[in-house]
């Protein structure tokens, strides 16, 4: 241990202590830097148009792809669909995740806590395709729900392959992440705070609104950001539950890279999506403060 300390002291002299946080951030910055390098490679392509006579990118640079991205109806449609969708999904997921997290953290039964925890992870293990198949069995035109409705005389309703179905699928997919992000924030709220509020005459609704929710704010911000960014960039759920007519931006990017072989256009859309996502994240941090996530730090 002493030897290790010596090495650490040599590598990490005290006078450099202001650099300590940056040194600790360095590995994460480098790892994430791989993505930046990748984006950089793609950025070059975004300024070149595809020549369909040779299927090579043009030699000269232009903003043609960017112009297309902002003017073509298809891209505007899918972009607004994914933006609005991700906001709805974020709100709905947080509403569902909070009670789940709360019960999971506050229950006195270790067995129940574990059950709730494991139920969170279950959906990950059936791949997207099989999961979609499962939903079809439950929600399809001849699925279990429609059969049940048929028993009470309701004609089959199309529950899948529309916009609500995509949002529903995204909420299901995001719920575990949101619960896991919220749980530590709730853990950090001492239970006595709630009982104190209760003994002062506040009913549970008021206690939630005035004590629990404000104190859990960092968790909500963290969970909200995860859900917002992941649903904004999701590809699989719109593809499998949208019936082909509910594409998000990531589906348009997929089409450019894989279907029409226009990698420059795909890169353009990807870079614009990164910009929009990062701006949204930046706005959230600006509104709520960058330190929101760092709950342990004393101001």
């Amino acid at each position: 241990m002493d030897a290790l300390e010596a090495v650490a002291a040599a590598l990490w002299p005290r006078r450099l202590s202001s650099a300590v946080p940056w040194l600790m951030l360095l590995p994460a910055v480098v790892l994430t830097g791989l993505l930046v390098l990748g984006l950089w490679e793609m950025a070059d392509g975004s300024f070149r148009t595809l020549d369909t006579a040779t299927f090579l990118p043009s030699d000269d640079y232009s903003f043609a792809n960017y112009h297309r991205a902002f003017t073509e109806k298809l891209f505007v449609t899918v972009a607004s669909r994914s933006l609005i969708g991700s906001l709805i999904v974020t709100a709905a997921t947080l509403v569902l995740a909070f009670p789940y997290s709360y019960v999971m953290v506050r229950t006195r039964s270790a067995a129940l806590r574990k059950f709730l925890l494991i139920a969170l992870f279950l959906p990950f293990f059936i791949g997207q395709v099989v999961r979609a198949y499962g939903w079809l069995i439950i929600l399809g035109s001849q699925g279990m729900v429609n059969e049940a409705l048929g028993l009470v005389g309701v004609a089959p309703i199309r529950l899948l392959y529309n916009y609500p179905a995509v949002l529903f699928g995204l909420v299901q997919y995001m719920l575990p992440f949101a619960v896991l992000m919220l749980a530590p924030a709730l853990t950090a709220i001492p239970e006595e705070m709630e009982s104190a509020a209760g003994s002062l005459g506040a009913n549970w609704v008021r206690t939630f609104v005035h004590v629990v929710l404000p104190m859990a704010k960092p968790g909500f911000i963290g969970a909200g950001l995860v859900v917002l960014t992941l649903s904004l960039t999701d590809f699989a759920i719109p593809a499998i539950l949208g019936g082909g007519s509910q594409d998000f931006i990531a589906n348009a990017i997929y089409d450019q890279f894989f279907r029409t072989s226009d990698q420059g256009m795909g890169a353009t859309l990807a870079l614009l999506l990164v910009a929009v996502g990062s701006i949204m994240v930046g706005v959230v941090f600006a509104l709520f403060g960058a330190g929101t996530l760092a709950m342990g730090r004393k101001p």
């Binding site: 006579a53 109806k73 899918v78 082909g244 894989f258 029409t260 072989s261």
Partner: protein, 369 residues
Amino acid sequence: MTGWTKADFDLSRRRFLRGVGLAGAAGLTGLPLRAFAAEPDKPRELIVRAWGGSWVDSLKAGVSDPFTKLTGIAVRHDLTEDNEIQPKLWAAAAQKRVPPIHVNWDTTTNATKSALRGVTEDLSDLPNLKTVSEAAKPVGVDGYPIVNTYGYVYVLAYRPGAFPDGAPKSWKVLTDPKFKGRVAVYNDGIGLHFPAEIAGGGKLEDIPGNMQPAWDFFTALKANEPLMGEDPDFTTWFQKGEIDVACTISSNAREAKKNGIDIAWTVPEEGATYETDGLWVPKYLPENELYWAKQYVNFALTQEAQQVWLDGLGLPGVAPGLKPPADLVGDPSYPVKPEDYARLLRVSSKVEVEHESEWFGKFKEIMQG
């Protein structure tokens, strides 16, 4: 190759000679480049990209397994989708890396894009090209950067229960309000553009100059709330009663039927899109692996290989003397005679390759609206 001892070589050679006896002369008409004794080192395995499910099973039975028997070279199949392996192959070529596969089984349209981009090896010296039909020759490119191996038809598949009076006669059934929400097409519209052009009141010769009839047809189709997906989706949707009619490749409809799904198919009065698939070899393979990859393609053109491979797919090949599988004799999705082909809609792959992006884009724009 280090792992090869003389005993191995003798063994594979013996196996080869035995294979000759089994497979007959056709398989042996290969080996164009060098005398047999000087053949290049055999790689341990070749990697061939293929579609999954019954597609790879047929290729394995008809081509890969006999090839292994003949040469002693194992064949591994990479089941990445043709669309999804394309950026991988293009990136490998751009970076002059050894590609992740030796042979790509690909649609002619996609393969032509790769050929135009210059990432394919020339296959003009394959001996079996002398025996195959004209259809093997790709259009709009020089020489043989790809070899077409068979054709297929985008048929109108339907659930017989929904059509008590017999098969639907026209593609217009897709826009019939009676089937609102119960029709399915590919999510990029592939296979549907040409029939749509005609069903929308246009002519095949108008393509690509005036596609307005097709766009009008798609607009009507959009109002009919179609489901859009890929082959497995169609099978699932037929199976679970979500749809009554779909535009799909005949092989997949046939495979669904074999698995007990109530499904039939037809070529409507407007005709149906006819396309081809082919094989090609990517650039930057080591020389010996390139040699054996080309041998694989050459072998896939033999009558024996094609008969088994394409029986599995139910598709007409390019080798001479192929017999249609019993269940497809007289089937419109298995053209044999010139008049069969006359019912099918074909556009030069050069035109297709140049305009496909634009057609997909327009289809998407209408359908995502």
